[in-house]
């Protein structure tokens, strides 16, 4: 795992980032916009993967962390008139705080109980958003006004509604989170997280406080998901309660399973794959979810470790 071929791993990741950068200049408009959205959602998937893939904790409530970022950023622009960096920071802070509280409570359980508890908390969060419709816009959601979506950095100002700016912002966030993930999973902390996944009891007997380590992972995971949500609100200008619904707790799980849990690039691959399967099939039939379902079943049957997980197992053992 770690200690092996760090240069190769970093080269691969920088290569992927470079490829995404180049794609910005060659992709047609439609795919350009889609890829920007995919990169932001891949960050959500990477956050989910941090907990599910590396620590082995299956949460069914990660929509609340994404939504915490989304609403934290969106509402502070809409109601408080905050600028873009402040709103982004507010979104991340909301997610981190929520993750800390949820982690303290939910980590008292494991396995199926953990899934149920996280799902219930996410439902509570969703219902709170609907209940406070006066501020949140309820099930209609709210639009972040265009004039507010300008990032001013010193003398320069970037209009986040401009497709190229939006793409580059999405790519920047994606790259940072990707490299942070890579660094974490290759670190000693990452080694402890994997050990907890493999055998928590044994890890305790090596002198590790597994509760605090897991809590740290929940907070890191929630913070990354919130960063994705905050970026979504600011880049795409819409803050809606559907992002807090159960569907958005299940989606990152599917993206990660598709791409390969516990692989750093799996979440991007899974999100990309799923988006394009839906995009292509919905052009032919209105029953596109059926095709997505079949694709998922095939994948689980023939490649339970996901795309990258299988590649790592068969050919490229050094993949982080």
């Amino acid at each position: 795992m770690s200690e092996v071929s760090p240069a190769k791993a970093y080269a691969l990741h920088l290569g992927v980032i470079a490829l995404l950068f180049v794609l910005s200049f060659v992709l047609p408009d439609y795919h350009h916009g889609l890829l920007a959205r995919i990169m932001v959602l891949a960050v959500f998937a990477m956050g989910y993967n941090m907990l599910f893939g590396y620590v082995g904790l299956l949460s069914l409530g990660h929509a609340m962390f994404f939504a915490a970022g989304l609403y934290g950023a969106g509402l502070s622009v809409i109601h408080l008139g905050w600028n873009v960096p402040a709103a982004f920071a507010a979104g991340i802070a909301c997610g981190a705080l929520l993750a800390l509280v949820i982690g303290l409570l939910a980590l008292r359980t494991t396995g199926v109980a953990f899934m149920i508890v996280t799902m219930m908390f996410a439902q509570v969060f969703y219902l709170i958003i609907l209940y406070f419709a006066v501020w949140t816009g309820g099930d209609q959601g709210m639009v972040v006004p265009q004039p507010a979506r300008v990032l001013v950095l010193g003398a320069a100002s970037f209009d986040l509604t401009n497709p190229t700016v939006r793409y580059m912002m999405a790519l920047t966030l994606f790259s940072i989170v990707l490299l942070v993930t890579l660094a974490v999973v290759r670190s000693r902390y990452g080694r402890v997280l994997v050990a907890i996944r493999e055998n928590e009891e044994r890890t305790k007997m090596l002198g590790y406080d597994t509760f605090s380590n897991k809590l740290g992972a929940v907070v890191l995971s929630g913070t990354i998901c919130a960063a994705s949500g905050a970026a979504y609100a600011l880049l795409f200008g819409y803050v809606g309660s559907s992002f807090a619904s159960v569907q958005y707790s299940i989606l990152p799980l599917l993206w990660v399973l598709l791409g390969g849990g516990a692989t750093t690039l799996g979440p991007l691959l899974g999100t990309l794959f799923m988006y394009y399967v839906i995009d292509i099939t919905s052009g032919y039939t209105s029953a596109y979810l059926l095709i997505v379902g079949v694709a998922l079943i095939l994948l689980v049957l023939f490649s339970p470790k996901g795309i990258l997980g299988t590649i790592r197992q068969r050919w490229l053992g050094w993949l982080p």
Binding site: M1, S2, E3, V4, R188, R191, V192, V194, A195, E198, N199, E201, R202, T203, K204, M205, L206, G207, Y208, D209, T210
Partner: protein
């Protein structure tokens, strides 16, 4: 000399069964102590209580002069009580290197440098003769090597008290000889508490032997004294009808 480990009235019941029943036990620093007894005598329960994997129903555990009865297992490990599992429980999907790196990276005093982890890991692997297999997944090692890896992980914790739970179980005779040498070497820097069924190993290694039966200490003494003890023979062989 004060004992490194003492237990007073240590008991643990599972339902109606008193697996460990009012055990008073003392272990001197530097000693190799073997714990023997028939199956179900409470040996594993006893060391699990000492390591903190299970909580006692009553009684008290003192380690190095401090009451550790209510401390969680991971804190006891940090204070120097290492436990190697009866049933091999290495991290099968991680490399042997990573298995040992986990305890090494935690015990390092200068948390930072990468070279220190590598050096510590390789030292522990070399001591147990596994250096050549550092990058093999632990699950693919032979059974004997997995047992040695368990010991390497225990060693890497730099314990003051190393608890070995049936370490030679399933080892070949040739491997057992190496193992005895290894335990002797470990005993130079740590106190060893050894649960063992293999009598030649026990007689060869132990300074003193504690015999458990039905959750209580039946006898305690040097290997010679235990060999001569009539009650021990009775517990092992049964009474004449």
């Amino acid at each position: 000399m004060t004992p490194l480990l003492t237990t007073k009235g240590l008991s643990r019941s599972f339902g109606g069964l008193r697996a460990v029943d009012g055990v008073d036990f003392a272990l001197m620093p530097g000693e190799i102590r073997a714990v023997i007894g028939p199956n179900g005598a409470g040996k594993t329960t006893f060391v699990s209580l000492v390591s903190g994997r299970i909580q006692p129903s009553s009684g008290m555990i003192v380690f190095d002069g401090a009451d550790i009865t209510s401390l969680p297992a991971y804190v006891r490990v940090r204070q120097g009580i290492a436990y190697t599992f009866q049933i091999t429980s290495v991290f099968a999907n991680l490399s042997a290197y990573d298995n040992v790196a986990l305890p090494v990276q935690r015990t390092l005093s200068d948390g930072r440098s990468k070279g220190a982890v590598r050096a510590g890991v390789m030292a522990a692997l070399e001591r147990t003769g596994l250096a050549g297999r550092a990058h093999m997944p632990a699950g693919q090692l032979s059974y004997g090597h997995q047992r040695l890896l368990e010991v390497a992980m225990g060693l890497a914790l730099k314990p003051r008290l190393l608890i070995l739970d049936e370490p030679t179980q399933g080892l070949a005779d040739s491997e057992i000889d190496n193992f005895i040498t290894l335990v002797r070497e470990i005993a130079r820097s740590a106190t060893v508490l050894l649960i063992e069924h293999n009598m030649p190993v026990v007689m060869d290694l132990a300074d003193r032997i504690t015999v458990f039966n039905a959750g209580r200490i039946l006898a305690e003494g040097t290997p010679e004294q235990i060999r001569e003890n009539a009650a021990v023979q009775e517990a092992y062989l049964g009474t004449a009808p």
